[in-house]
């Protein structure tokens, strides 16, 4: 099923003409309303009028996550605050978090795009929809919520966690569709089984999963454990939130990018060179219609490839393959995005600690675990030969990580020099997960 047949099945040349028109508009607009872009374009020696074809965008500079942080919180907004009706933010301490804003029209667009996603998954107003994505500053919960209401489904705004309650609602309310991270879906299946619930007799028939990397193997596991069709949803808060691309139930292979609103390129992450469709690289997004927070050539750091082949569902929109990795050191822990530098910032806020730490990521059952090993500093230990002082420190770090980054970690104090002294940031992380 297709929600917006007009825009989702445009002939490529018509779609590209629309993209060009919108691209020219947004490039003009950011040049005149966002100081950062005026400076960046001037420095790169490009002018908005240089865009004559879509390929001309390649001459324009990238926007990096660092640029968003440097302009924290509202520096990249292209409209006055009076036009903004919603703010979302990533986790992080001051300066390590990114904030995104939406106008009323942006919310409408996002709502429509999420409606397109849900319809692509076969949902209708007759579905009862359990939304187990987190509500709040995270874009997942509310973004999907609006789309689900738009198509008239009965939405249960469950949010994440609270597994026993989720299982009760799965049995008693009889939702036919669910949305959460794929690992949480497996966790629900496992906990349900342990409680003696026959998960296959639930009314669930479709699951929409995203916010973390997963594999075809996990898809089969989820489909088998819950007796459903599992589909992949993609998004990133900087560009919109969930609803940037979505797998269709007909194709079940790759997510259609809503190219009438987002222009996507795949680049070589080292050289920045644009790759031909089909080649694996880092995805770069330009928002074509966003008013409050337009981004030009935003480097997503997600590694994937674009699939230009036509899809049996009838959409002419290119698909993107599963995200297979990152071109930076970001970790996704139970759907929450974390940079090692954010953990470091939390540690360094506490007096007496030194930036000697290591993150160990693993998967226990179906859920990610994060262990943060912090070396006992001389200053900390010289004031404390008592167990309670050190345990209080462990608790304090745990709490600050939870408060600032929104993820539960197991903090462990370790002996000095037991952690290697690393040059590169990436080696601060030991990721043992097999996805």
């Amino acid at each position: 099923m297709i929600y917006n047949e007009d825009f989702e099945t445009l002939p490529r040349e018509v779609l590209e003409a629309l993209q060009l028109k919108r691209l020219r508009q947004v490039v003009q607009r950011v040049y005149h309303t966002v100081g950062f872009y005026r400076r960046a374009f001037d420095e790169a020696g490009v002018q908005p009028d240089d865009i004559k074809t879509l390929d001309d965008l390649r001459r324009f500079p990238f926007t990096a996550k660092q640029d968003l942080r440097a302009n924290y919180p509202f520096g990249l907004f292209a409209v006055p605050m009076s036009s903004i009706v919603r703010l979302h933010a990533s986790s992080g301490t001051t300066g390590r978090s990114t904030v995104v804003g939406y106008t009323k029209r942006d919310i409408d667009t996002w709502t429509e795009l999420m409606a397109r996603c849900l319809v692509a998954a076969g949902l209708t107003k007759n579905d009862i929809f359990l939304n187990a994505y987190g509500y709040g500053l995270f874009t997942g919960g509310l973004g999907i919520h609006y789309g689900a209401e738009k198509i008239g489904a009965s939405v249960i705004p469950m949010s994440g966690g609270n597994t026993k309650r989720q299982l009760m609602i799965l049995q008693d309310f009889g939702p036919t569709a669910i949305c959460c991270t794929p690992s949480y879906a497996l966790n629900l299946a496992e906990e349900g089984k342990a409680m003696g619930i026959d998960m296959k007799t639930l009314k669930l028939r479709v699951g929409i999963f995203g916010a973390e990397p997963w594999s075809e193997k996990m898809r089969l596991e989820i489909e088998d454990a819950l007796g459903i069709t599992a589909l992949n949803l993609y998004g990133l808060s900087e560009i919109m939130g969930p609803g940037v691309s979505m797998e269709c139930q007909e194709g079940r292979h790759g997510m259609h990018v809503f190219e009438d609103h987002f222009l996507v390129e795949a680049i070589n992450p080292d050289t920045g060179e644009v790759l031909p469709p089909g080649e694996e690289g880092e995805l770069v997004f330009t928002t074509l219609t966003k008013e409050a927070f337009p981004l030009i050539r935003f480097r997503s750091r997600d590694i994937s490839r674009l699939l230009p082949e036509p899809c049996r569902c009838g959409r002419t929109l290119y698909r993107m393959d599963r995200v297979t990795g990152r071109s930076d050191d970001m970790l996704i822990i139970r759907g929450v995005n974390i940079f090692p530098s954010q953990v470091e910032a939390v540690i360094m806020e506490i007096e007496g600690l030194e930036p000697h730490y290591q993150l160990i990521v693993d998967r226990a059952g179906n859920l990610d675990t994060l262990e943060v090993q912090v070396e006992v500093s001389e200053q900390l230990f010289s004031n404390a030969d008592e167990v309670k002082v050190l345990q209080n420190m462990e608790r304090r770090i745990t709490k600050n990580i939870k408060d600032y980054l929104g993820v539960s970690a197991r903090v462990k104090l370790v002996e000095p020099k037991s952690l290697q002294r690393f040059e590169g940031k990436a080696s601060r992380v030991l990721d043992k997960r097999q996805i």
Partner: protein, 143 residues
Amino acid sequence: MKVEQLSIFLENKPGGLEQVTRILKDAEINIRTLSLADTTDFGILRMIVNDVDAAALVLKTQGLRVSRTTVVAVEVPDRPGGLHGILEVLSGNGINVEYLYAFVEKSGQNAVIIFRFDDPDTAIEVLQKNGLTVLPGAKLYAL
């Protein structure tokens, strides 16, 4: 009248304790008494040794996290009620014990209790006023 104790941070892993005893053995340092406090993840090894300065230096040089803390050693006859007599005095004077450990002297007549107090000076004053024997550090190191 105070005693200097060494505390060493140890992760809970095989060989952690052995590493410390090997360093001390190689430096020919004698351990008078010790105690190990442990949690799930880590332990704190506390020791009285014959040469605090040398032991602290050699352990630090080997990369261990070492701190020096002041404790109080009290001698009591090795018989029923010995420790109780001390604790009665402390509790009667509102003095809190952070932790303690004990050993019996070579002669077998007396036991020595090592106490960690928030405020060792007050504790010593109270103990002595109540007729208890507080051992000076020098005596303990040389036992």
